[in-house]
């Protein structure tokens, strides 16, 4: 795996057959005057075909900017300054999204890669009916009649288990509940049958009983359609439920990537370990007499992307820190089968 990371070979050769998307040493900066906010500071991650990669991190970790970089939807002054985003198209050719001309990106968004957000109203237009919006999406990418597009739109609403789909087509987003809008957004995203779905905190604004419905729906859709999912979240509980593979981000970098079971069973980065220890756990946090034990928070705060520490960005908060960590940035190295860690001392974990 490490050899693949650095191999400067032709694009097609760098992407194994089962990989849909691979970001390599991606850097996205927001440049204001003399200063650069290094929101994404060397991200490497892999999404395999038909699987869900969860990207987990706290605020400021760069997880959303990574997804916007992949979609090339960065707002000014954000810019990809270095790295590759290799994507395997459905016809098998591999393109680098980081440098693809905007005109070709337009054919990719929606048709090859679709995106859903935390707040459905960021993608739904309040002035058009749900049906019109899905039909517009379909007709943008495919030469079908209005009638045919409407049939397809209805099928999409049925696919996401919206009851009375025919009636719902003529409703406006405000006439629907939050969970229903989230379903419409998923229907809209899937209407051109994308190979990769990027979901940015899609259940964060929802109540737990509705969140369970949406996660269930996404699992079922993945099984039926075989799409790959890049799922961005801050919730490790959701990660455990939906992911095959997990990438943990901290201060603009992926600090660990591993299959989900391996990551939770034995995290190989001190940040991941610290994050898991922060979540209350009834078995761990009670003494034998039932008394509550204190939690083990990670000390300090996430560093500012305007002023990242040299060396390992986690060093100032890390219990395993040694002098070397403060001067030199560790690379993402193998730490077990399919397990990568960006820590010099991962063997101690």
């Amino acid at each position: 795996m490490a050899a693949v990371l650095s191999a400067p070979s032709p694009l097609t050769a760098t992407l194994p057959e089962d990989v849909v998307l691979r970001a390599e040493d991606l850097h996205t900066h927001f440049i204001v005057g003399e200063r650069a906010a290094k929101s994404v500071d060397g991200v490497t991650l892999t999404v395999r075909r038909g699987e869900t990669l969860a990207v987990v991190g706290e605020s400021g970790s760069g997880k959303s900017v990574t997804s916007l970089s992949i979609m090339r939807l960065l707002a000014h002054p954000g810019r990809i300054v270095r790295g590759k985003i290799l994507y395997r198209m459905r016809d098998g050719t591999v393109v680098d999204l980081a440098t693809l001309p905007e005109k070709r990106m337009r054919a990719i968004r929606g048709k090859e890669i679709a995106m859903i957000f935390q707040e459905p109203m960021t993608s739904l237009n309040p002035l058009y009916t749900v049906g019109d919006q899905i039909m517009e999406m379909i007709r943008l990418h495919e030469p079908v009649s209005r009638h045919e597009a409407r049939q397809r739109a209805r099928q999409m609403l049925e696919l996401v288990e919206i009851p009375a789909a025919e009636k719902r087509l003529d409703q406006y987003p405000h006439e629907m509940s939050g969970g229903m809008r989230q379903r419409v957004m998923i229907a809209l995203a899937l209407s051109c049958n994308p190979a990769l779905l990027i979901a940015d905190e899609p259940t964060t604004a929802l109540d737990v009983t509705i969140q369970a419905q949406i996660l269930d729906l996404m699992r079922r859709l993945q099984r039926d359609i075989g799409m790959s999912i890049l799922f961005i979240t801050h919730n490790l509980g959701v990660v455990a439920e939906i992911a095959h593979e997990v990438a943990v981000m901290y201060a603009g970098r992926v600090v660990e990537q591993a299959p989900v079971e391996a990551l939770f069973a034995r995290p190989r980065h001190p940040y991941t370990k610290g994050l898991l220890a922060c979540i209350p756990n009834p078995e761990r946090d009670r003494a034998a007499d039932g008394a509550r034990l204190m939690l083990n928070p990670i000390p300090g705060n996430v560093p500012s992307v305007l002023n990242l520490p040299p060396g390992c960005t986690y060093a100032p908060r890390c219990p395993l820190v040694e002098p070397r960590c403060e001067g030199e940035a560790p690379g993402l190295v193998p730490a077990g089968p399919g397990h990568l860690s960006r820590c010099f001392r991962h063997e101690l974990l």
């Binding site: 706290e58 605020s59 509940s177 969970g179 229903m180 109540d207 737990v208 009983t209 509705i210 969140q211 369970a212 419905q213 996660l215 269930d216 801050h234 919730n235 490790l236 509980g237 959701v238 990660v239 455990a240 439920e241 992911a243 989900v260 079971e261 939770f264 069973a265 610290g274 994050l275 898991l276 220890a277 922060c278 979540i279 209350p280 756990n281 009834p282 946090d285 039932g290 509550r292 204190m294 939690l295 083990n296 928070p297 990670i298 705060n301 996430v302």
Partner: protein
């Protein structure tokens, strides 16, 4: 109906009885909170959990009379807060404080932190001059900030630090009861753990009583001694949290607990995924408000609001089928 099991039979600081709040909107009356009764024992942390529209925030605000209740009583240390005239209420306001969810919008951006905390001290005339300054410094230290922070403005702090400032402000008047409305929901996990530890330390040191309003079932299980489960303004189940989590008796509580994501991919639970959405509080279902989403609903559930049934001295459930469902569950296990 009026009898509420008191927690551990101990000293009750706050006793809420038949609390109802109706809001009159253009589309008609909304029953935000309906016939809610529970006790809060002195020194205990009581969690109020529920999804959006459950009325948890409204209930908390009614108790502090930040929102005027429509009906019921809230007996605090022997006095019904709902009957107190505004002037007499003032003395009680000092004994009860609130911490808000959003540490960004609950602090005045134009005031220095020292003045934000000092304002609470001044309002109740608790200290002046040097004593006031010393008190502010002490409060900041207590919540893990430094006295120099008094000179800074809210925008200079992170979310976690702002929540600490909000806590210091609440503590400034030495309250006995704190209503904490989703105090850690807006914080990142690592910061959330810091604030949860702080809340516990303060609670122990100062002997505080707390009403902890939250949608996060993991946090409530960890922090709260007792739990009240709300759905569409009504109590579905209440009791000591260890008992309710170990043995939920209401179908809603069961569904809620089974769908809360657990950070462990090896856990395979029998998940109860509820169908449909939470009904509009403008037009709640008749009888049991949960029946439209309940997998066990029968005709009788639509006829009358289910009375509260005790399943243990301090654990009660509002479900007419709870005894029957418990037997079914036991049979399934033994079979």
């Amino acid at each position: 109906m009026n009898h509420s099991p008191s927690p551990q039979g101990g000293d009750v600081l706050l006793s809420v009885r038949n609390l109802s709040k109706r809001f009159h909107t253009a589309s008609g009356p909304v029953k935000a909170v309906e016939d809610v009764s529970f006790d809060v024992g002195r020194g205990r942390i009581v969690g109020i959990v529920g999804e959006s529209g459950s009325g948890k925030t409204t209930a908390g605000r009614c108790i502090l009379r930040l929102v005027e209740p429509s009906e019921g009583e809230a007996v605090f240390d022997g006095v019904d807060l709902f009957k107190l005239p505004e002037k007499a209420l003032r003395a009680y306001r000092r004994r009860m404080q609130i911490i808000f969810q959003d540490p960004y919008s609950s602090l005045n951006p134009r005031m220095r932190v020292g003045d934000i905390i000092g304002e609470a001290i001044d309002t109740h005339g608790l200290a002046k001059g040097a004593a006031r300054q010393a008190r502010i410094a002490d409060l900041l230290a207590r919540v893990g900030l430094s006295p120099e922070h008094a000179r800074r403005y809210p925008h200079e702090f992170s979310g976690g630090q702002r929540q600490r400032i909000g806590i210091a402000r609440a503590l400034a008047v030495e309250p006995e009861l704190i209503v904490a409305d989703e105090p850690v929901s807006a914080l990142d996990v690592s910061v959330q753990a810091q604030v949860l530890n702080l809340i516990q330390e303060l609670q122990k040191e100062l002997g505080l009583t707390m009403l902890f309003i939250s949608h996060d079932l993991t946090v409530v299980e960890y922090l709260c001694d007792d739990i009240v489960v709300l759905y569409l303004g009504r109590i579905m189940e209440q009791g000591p949290s260890r008992e309710v989590y170990a043995n939920p008796r209401h179908p809603y509580t069961k569904a809620l607990l089974s769908t809360a994501p657990i950070p462990d991919p090896t856990v395979r639970r029998e998940r109860v995924i509820l169908q449909g959405d939470i009904p509009s509080p403008l037009d709640p279902p008749s009888g049991c408000v949960f029946r439209t989403r309940c997998p066990f609903a029968i005709e009788a559930c639509a006829k009358a609001v289910p009375p509260r049934e005790s399943v243990s001295p301090s654990h009660s459930v509002a479900c007419i089928r709870q005894a029957e469902l418990a037997t079914l569950a036991t049979q399934k296990v033994t079979a």
